[in-house]
Structures are given as C-alpha cells and as structure tokens.
C-alpha cells in the first residue's frame, strides 16, 4: 500500500456544507450562537506502509507512526492567518511550521494528514514526501508562501 498526496475528496463536499472553519468563525448556527470558534487543525504522521489518500475521510490511528516523543493524533497546527483570496483563488496556509520535537520514529514514514480535530477529525489534505526515519531529532515541515500561487491549500 502507499500514501498519495491529495486534497481529501470528503473535504471538498464538507466545505460546501460548512463543516470546516479554518478562519475567523462566521457561522453562528454551530457550536455557539454568540461566540463561534475557529476549528483546530492537527497534523498526524503515517508510515510508508499506510494507505492515506484522497479517499481518506478522517484521521485514523491505523498506520500512524509510533515512537518516542510522538503522541497519537500528531500535533496542533498553528493557524493564525485566516483563509483569504487573491484574484479568483482562495487559499490558506498554517501560519507556522509544523514541528515534531525530540522524536524517534524508527519505522519509515512518508506522509502527513491534516485534519480538523474540532469536527470529528475530518480529513483535509494529505502531504507526502520520500520515505524517512528520524532518531533523537526534530522533524520540521516548513510551510510555503501563503499566496494564491503557493499556499498549502488553494481553491482556484
């Protein structure tokens, strides 16, 4: 099996029904009528042997990495910049690098799943890279420039 980079198909339909609020909350019909909150995005790592792809609908512990310093479910993504638009493209990027500190992950991994932990762990996006291991170290995913051309999540 293998992981495949993609925007999750379920996410495409979920944004049409307002399941995801990655920016300043505007939906007042959900959670709280007076103070709706922005959703929390998390990032989980998966083994190279896992099957995470466009068909993934939610975070799963199956195939997730295990190791010293890594907590199941991954880390919370820093989301300080709301989605915005430029021209005809809407886009969003985490506002800081995604960092897994002081970890040892001895079994090869090659995938990060971004998911909405505020909304039943619904899947958002799959990022892949060449198979890696890490020993007593820090894994840093540096985000692209947050613009209409390079942002991590773009709807053009």
């Amino acid at each position: 099996m293998a992981n495949t980079q993609a925007i999750c198909t379920s996410f495409k339909s979920e944004i049409l029904v307002g399941n995801h609020q990655l920016g300043a909350a505007t939906l007042t019909s959900r959670g709280s009528l007076t103070s709706p909150t922005k959703d929390t995005v998390k990032a989980a790592l998966y083994l190279a042997s896992a099957t995470i792809n466009a068909a993934t609908t939610a975070y799963t512990a199956t195939g997730e990495v295990t190791g010293t310093g890594y907590t199941a479910g991954g880390v919370t993504v820093t989301n300080g910049t709301d989605p915005t638009t430029s021209g005809t493209t809407a886009f969003w990027t985490p506002s800081a690098s995604i960092v897994y500190s002081t970890v040892t992950l001895s079994t090869a991994f090659d995938c990060v799943l971004l998911y909405n932990s505020s909304q039943s762990n619904k899947a958002i996006q799959v990022l892949t890279f060449g198979s890696q291991t890490i020993t007593a170290g820090t894994l840093t995913l540096t985000m692209p420039t947050n613009d209409a051309t390079n942002a991590l999540l773009r709807i053009a």
């Binding site: 002081t102 890279f129 890696q132 890490i134 020993t135 840093t140 995913l141 773009r154 053009a156």
Partner: protein
C-alpha cells in the same frame, strides 16, 4: 549562544554537535533535508533531524456548471 541540541545522548551543547546536512529530495513540490548529528568528542553519530520545505501543491479547482 545556541540552544542545546537533542541527541541520542540527551541534550548536548551546540558546540559539541557537528551537523551534516544533505538534501535527499528536491522537487517542485518539496525539498527534504536530512541533518545528521555527530558528537565531536568521539565522532559518534547521535541522531538526525529532518527539514521538509513544502513548496507548492496542486490546487483544488472550482468549476461553475452550466444549465442543461
């Protein structure tokens, strides 16, 4: 002064750790750099860091349909 560096021998002073960076993947989508760490006192390998720079991923395209 640099922060201590985490290794298989715990946190070591930055001056004691030699970092050797190698780009192991470089594509339009991403650049992956593996940084191996060595203890200068005996040359032992004491772990590695990974730095993945995401450049640009495919976009989701919205398309307006037409009336039949």
């Amino acid at each position: 002064m640099s922060d201590p560096i985490f290794t298989t021998r715990g946190f070591l002073p930055a001056t004691r750790v030699e970092l050797r960076a190698n780009v192991v993947e470089d594509s339009a989508d991403r650049t992956v750099t593996r940084i191996d760490k060595y203890d200068r006192t005996d040359g032992a390998w004491v772990g590695n860091d990974l730095d993945i720079k995401v450049h640009r991923l495919p976009a989701l395209f919205g398309e307006a349909g037409t009336f039949a």
